[in-house]
């Protein structure tokens, strides 16, 4: 790989990293797993003057759940998400998405935070976080702020993140009671980005939907939250008719573009089919799970 020339720093603490970003501003790029940034450098689609490698900043790599919040550090690798027993038992949508992100080699390096910061409309984590109604903590030298996932993405490869900010934490309302989720992804081969994917996260109470989250991948300028489909499920029993209704609403929310992977009709149909199948799978898990 032959990128354009750049400077490179590898701070050891978050404060050092934030100092650097503040001083360098637009000239700099954070380097996390490098699985999106390095290809861009290699193709010379990006040529930042300075890379700030945060891989040595241990404070950015964590996973814990307490006080009703699941906290994920931005450096948490796809592979770690795939392997976590806790996530598998309580957040099926995360576990199922994790093993479908890219391929095993990319998953070893790639990070959840890097993926969200990259804001690729075909990225898997964005939809998962939308379905989970997550919040992101963004921090700069000048302070920190919290933003909901639904307000974070603003278009293809663009987000609320400023050049001097780091994404430092992902917060997910802890799942309790009967919950289930699923991540269904249509890909042309292992390691491919989604043609279409649908993230579903359900919390059930007394046979009724307490809350439902649905995120859509690769069918719009950014990861989409299917609000109307979510609303249509809330408080209802998950019978087939309700599922079909929600699936139709999710399909209507999609704004796909035709390309080598398929037509607009095709992609919209897959959203419908996957929402239906995903809700059924989540329902089964919610019924089966504690």
């Amino acid at each position: 790989m032959l990128p354009a020339p750049f400077e490179y720093s590898a701070p050891e603490t978050m404060d050092e990293a934030l100092d650097l970003l503040d001083a360098l501003g637009d000239e700099s790029k954070v380097l996390a797993g490098g699985q999106s940034l390095i290809p861009l450098l290699k193709l010379r689609f990006a040529s930042p003057a300075h890379l700030v490698d945060v891989n040595r900043v241990a404070e950015l790599d964590f996973l814990d759940e307490h006080d009703g919040v699941l906290r994920i550090g931005p450096l948490f690798r796809h592979k770690a998400a795939e392997r976590s027993g806790m996530l598998a038992s309580k957040y099926a949508v995360i576990a199922e998405a994790a093993r479908q992100v890219a391929d095993p080699i990319v998953r070893n390096r790639g990070t959840v935070g890097g993926s969200l910061a990259h804001a690729d409309p075909a990225g898997d984590w964005g939809s998962v976080m939308l379905a989970l109604d997550a919040e992101f903590v963004l921090r700069s030298k000048r302070g920190s702020r919290t933003i909901r996932a639904r307000d974070f993405f603003s278009g293809p490869f663009s987000s609320a993140l400023k050049s001097n900010e780091l994404l430092v934490e992902i917060r997910v309302p802890a799942a309790d009671g009967r919950k289930g989720g699923s991540y269904l992804k249509l890909e042309r081969k292992v390691g491919d980005f989604a043609t279409v994917a649908v993230a579903v996260h359900l919390q059930m109470d007394d046979g009724k939907v307490k809350s439902a989250g649905i995120g859509l991948t690769a069918v719009g300028p950014q990861n989409l939250k299917a609000d109307r489909a979510e609303a249509a499920l809330k408080g209802r029993a998950l019978d087939d008719a309700t599922i079909k209704e929600a699936a139709a609403l999710a399909a209507a929310a999609a704004e796909p573009k035709a390309d080598n992977r398929g037509s607009v009709d095709y992609k919209r149909n897959v959203v419908r089919v996957f929402t239906e199948r995903g809700l059924r799978r989540a329902r089964e898990r919610a019924q089966g799970g504690a």
């Binding site: 354009a4 010379r44 391929d103 081969k189 390691g191 398929g262 089919v273 199948r277």
Partner: protein
Amino acid sequence: MATETPLKGFIGESIKRKEDDRFIQGKGNYVDDIVLPGMLHMSILRSPFAHARIKSIKADAAQAVPGVVAVVTGDLLAQHKLAWMPTLSGDTQAVLATDKVRFQGQEVACVIATDPYVARDAAQLIEVDYDVLPAVVDPYQALEPGAPLVRDEKEGQSSNHIYHWEAGDKAKTEQAFARAERVVSLETFYPRCHPSPVETCGIVADISPVTGNATIYMTSQAPHAHRTLFAIVAGLPEEKIRILSPDIGGGFGNKVPIYPGYVVATAASLLLGKPVKWVEDRSENLISTGFARDYHMKGELAVTNDGRMLGLRVKMLSDNGAFYADAQPSKFRAGLFHIVTGSYDIPAAHVETDGAYTNKAPGGVAYRCSFRVTEASYLIERLVETAAIDLKMDPAELRSKNFIRPEQFPYTSATGFDYDSGQYEKALRLALEKAGYDELRKEQAEKRKRGELMGIGLASFTEVVGAGPGKHFDIAGLRMFDSAELRVHPTGKAILKLGVKSQGQGHETTFAQIVTEELGIPAVDVMVQEGDTDNTPYGLGTYASRSTPVGGAATAMVSRKLRDKAKKIAAHLLEASEADIDFDHGKFFVQGAPSKSKTIQEIAFAAYTNLPDGMEAGLEGVTYYDPPNFTYPFGTYLVVVDIDRGTGQAKVRRMIAVDDCGVRINPMIVEGQIHGGLAEGFGIAFMQLITFDEEGNCLGSNFTDYLLPTSWETPNFETYETVTPSPHHPIGAKGIGESATVGSPAAFVNAVIDAVAHLGIKNIDMPVTSDKIWSALHEVGAAE
């Protein structure tokens, strides 16, 4: 304690590949591993446009970058008469564009610098002023009057038409169609795909300013032929050129042509007096080097109502891109496409093919295929599937009914091929039996009742490989023979030097085993050398599954020459008459007295120490082998798929492959070749496509757009064999490198079509992607 006797490597023994020790330790030696003192690096600036006139090229800024040694443009090359070069198909190709660019990715200028990064940085600073012209990317449109003329620089070239070529008997075929009770037809497109070897193409050219010796390390499947072409193109004296093709990370036809980068790097080394390295990156490989296929085909089969084939008529248009740079025997404009009658006894056939220039990359290489055999095999096997649908016959039965029968061999096809041997029915039966065909059909019928889609696809292909009789087949005039030189050392170890060149096929093992079989020297004791033109005999190289049919035959023949001499030495040592000496598994003995024997090792020693009077010392020889005919490998592939009506995804549940390549030298290596080919066939059938938008932008320029299957999605392969030796090959072997890529795409597609044919869907062109399947289902109201 029982000890295992190590296998010597006789024919039929799956000994481990001798070359793998270095490969699995990461210690192969590829072109990019070559580092020479003072070596410079080259980077190529490529055209962003598919069709544009070059108004000016300004290189001052690039030239001024510290570390830049030279910027080479087409004008500079023109001063040395090197701006254009001949192609393997007798056309010309721009080395660096002078007048205009004709495809996106075309070579425009090169920067030579002390460091590859600097070369790339500086290339970006070259300013090219283009006048963009309308591009033509469809060969049918290219042939319309008024289409943009791609090759306006060629004298007498007033359209984009390249060639017209016919094979077979037109009148006889027309008669067959007139008699037919039914005509089955299929229009299909075999899309542009790319061989995509894991190692891209590259060169290190090192021309000594002192001696004028040109040492050229190059990713070459055909080093000897390339040496001769270099001599002709660059005007270098051939004895001073040494081409070294070190380890090669896959070729698949992609490393047969000579690319502009090779020419510029060599010219630059000559002008600068320093070694120059050029290794392309992945996108450069995908957008500019030899693509494959891009054939638009219309086939018609004349049949009787009970399914007898009477005649075949094919019209074909090939999209050759901006330069006609197909790699194929020079008299055959569409390669061996006329093998299109396949495994069937079709009394009359006629093939008409045309080629067109478009604003796309040139190439037309035989991607794991013997010169357009893949396209031919695909067409006939898809056509037979279509016939089965139209006739409402079982596709296995229809095939069976029309196969060339064993007693018909040697069989002359309607387009003029002389098939050597085959047992097509036997291979088909074995595949059906292993698959449990009747059960599968039952399951399919039950699933259909429930609205589930399941398909069973067959392909009973016949290939033609091992070019070729030199009288008819040549590359750029060089007859397609091949060679082997064998030298047995005093201690009984040997070196075998070949004109072919492995790119992963396991030559170091397979060819050593032929020597083992013929002389008894264990394969571990036979060093196989290839890819060094100073130290191996002349040959045409490795592609078109020709190494075993031609180079392997040469190896057997040269071993036999040595055996004859060894017999004379044995007679001398055993004090018997030569006529009384027998040979078996490396032992020479007196007939009727097997205890009176000499090993090949003892004889080798005697060849240098204790010779009969008047005999020349040494035990060595060379053979140039011109095969009397091609070999015709064949087989039947069977694929089972399940289709998801909601997403259109086709999941391959089973893939059964019965291959017959005659005698198998190292069965494990043969299996490996089949596995690799099936995986590639799977990729071609389901996911690969190099496509272009209307402006000629290439939409398959990296591995996120151009997909290679990995072990994750590739189905499990169940492989079986039948053995029908080639009657004319010294050890009865046929080529096996390509059968699987040739035969499998049709089997995969036929399986998908078999799942949906009852809904009225008879064709989906490759790649058979989920969206195409869903759209076809949607159109007939059968999608979820």
